[in-house]
Subunit: 298 residues, 2 copies
Amino acid sequence: MDKYPEFIKQVDNEYWLVETEAGNYKLHYKIKDILFCWQSNFQHIMILDSYTFGKMLVLDGIVQTTAADGFIYNEMITHVPMNIHPNPRKVLIIGGGDCGAAREVAKYPGVKRIDMVEIDEMVVKACLEHLPEISGNLCDPRVNFIFKDGMKYIQDLNRQNDDGIEKDLYDVVIVDSSDPVGPATSLFEADFYRLLYNVLEDDGLMACQSESPVFYAKTMKNTYDRLSAIFPITRLYTTTVPTYPGGIWSFTIASKKYAHVNPSKFDKETICVNKEILESCFAIPEFVKKILDTQTQC
Amino acid sequence: MDKYPEFIKQVDNEYWLVETEAGNYKLHYKIKDILFCWQSNFQHIMILDSYTFGKMLVLDGIVQTTAADGFIYNEMITHVPMNIHPNPRKVLIIGGGDCGAAREVAKYPGVKRIDMVEIDEMVVKACLEHLPEISGNLCDPRVNFIFKDGMKYIQDLNRQNDDGIEKDLYDVVIVDSSDPVGPATSLFEADFYRLLYNVLEDDGLMACQSESPVFYAKTMKNTYDRLSAIFPITRLYTTTVPTYPGGIWSFTIASKKYAHVNPSKFDKETICVNKEILESCFAIPEFVKKILDTQTQC
C-alpha cells in the first residue's frame, strides 16, 4: 500500500478511512487493504478491506455498504415492498450498484424480469468481482443491467408512453440510491417521483431509502411529503444499519393500491428479515412519527 | 479550555473526544466545552457539550448517554418491563446514575417506591446539575438514592432473608449498568442474577441492558443464557441508540411469571416509545435470534 488515495489517512504505519461527512462527528475505520480504487466518470470508487466490518464499498469517501452489515439494508429495502405486492413479476431497481437488492429480488421465483438501472458500470463490476459477500456473485438470466442515469431512464420510458408506444410497466420499483449529493441528487426530486408513478402498474408500488431520521430528518421528511403528494398510500419504516451515521435508517413505501405487508408466506433465506420483522416494520419511534406529522414544507 | 483531560485530543485548536473502545473503529466527537470533569473513587467522569449530540455523559472516556438520543435507551429499558408487569409498585434500579431510568419509572403513579442503587454518587450529582435533558431535574419523594455497589446491595438483602428478617421484595428490577468492564463487571455474573432472583416478588421481573449484538455478541449471549438458567421466562429485545457503536443495542427481560407486554393502556409522554414500539419490541432480526439459539457456552 505504497500509494494511497485521498480518502485514506496514514497514521503511524496504520491506514484509516476517515468519513468526514458529518463534520463534527467522524467515523474512523482501520483498513487492512485497498482491493479496488478507481475514479469513474461519476465518482471515486474504492473497495476496502477493513478490520471491523470486513470488505466495504466506499464512494467519494463515504461507506455505502459492508460485508458485515450490508445485508440489513439490502434485505429491508427489498423484502418489505416484495411482500406488500401480492405477486410482483416485473421489478425495476434504480441504483443498487452493489447488486445486493437485485440478489434479494432474485430470491422470488414469481419474478420474471429484474431491470437494474445503475449510472456507474464500474461500481457493478467492482462489486461483482471484489464484494461477493453483498453481490452474491449475482448471475441470473432475469437480471438486465442497464447502465444509465435513473432519471433519464424514467424520462425515456415516459416519453415512449407519450409517443403512443406501449409501455412496459413495473409491479415494484426499488430506488436504492446513494445520498442526495453527487449522481443521486435527482432521485430525491418530486419530478422524478411523478415520472416514476407513470411507469408503475395500476397496483404497483415503490420503495426508496429515505436517509437517517437523526442526521437527515429534512431529507426523510421531504421524501415522504413529496411521495404523499403523488401516491395515495405512503408509509415509512426504519431499521438499524451499524455503519451508517446515527445507526437508524429510514425507507419509504409509496403505493397505488396495497398498504399492508403479508409476511405469512415469507420463506426466503435471509440474515436479518423474518416474519416478525416484516409484520412490525411500520412500528416506528414516536420522534420519527412526529417529524412526519409536522406541517409539509416542500 | 486550557487544560484538558486525557480522553480529549486537541487538533488544530479543535477539541475532540476519541472513543478508543473498539480499537479498529473509532468515533470522534467534536467538543464545544467540558462542563464537568472529575476522577471519582470509581471512574473518570465528564459531562461534555458536543456539537453533534449536545451534552454527553462520558465515563472513562466512553460515551454513556447524550442529550440527543439518551431518551431512546432510557425509555426502552424502562417502559418494556413496566408494561409487562401489570401493576408495578416497588421498583429497584441498579446503576442508572444519569437518573434517566428513574425519571421514566416516576411517570407511573402506581409506583410507590423507587430505590436507586448507584455506586458512584458523583455521577448522579453531575447529571442532576449538568444534564437535566436526561435526568429531568429528578426530584420525586418516591426515589431513594442509595450510593452503594449494586452487587453488595443485593447480597445484603439476601443476607437479611437468611437471618429471618422480613424482606422487602421488588416487582420490577432494572439493571442499567455500564459495560462489563470497571465497576459494572459483577452485574453481568450468574451469581448476581441468582441473588437478584431472590429479591423479586413471586410475579416479579427484571430487565437489563445486554450490550450490542454486533460488537459484543458474546456478552449478549452470556447474559441471556445465564438469566435463562435461573428464570422461567427470558426474552430479548433491541433498539437503535445512535451514539453506541454498532447502533443496535439489546436488552434482556427475565421474569418469574409475566411474558407479554400489554401496551393497550400506555399513555406516558415519551419521545421514542409508543404503543406500536411496545407491541413489536420482541420482533428481533434473524441474526440476533441465531446468536441466542446457538449452543449455550456459559
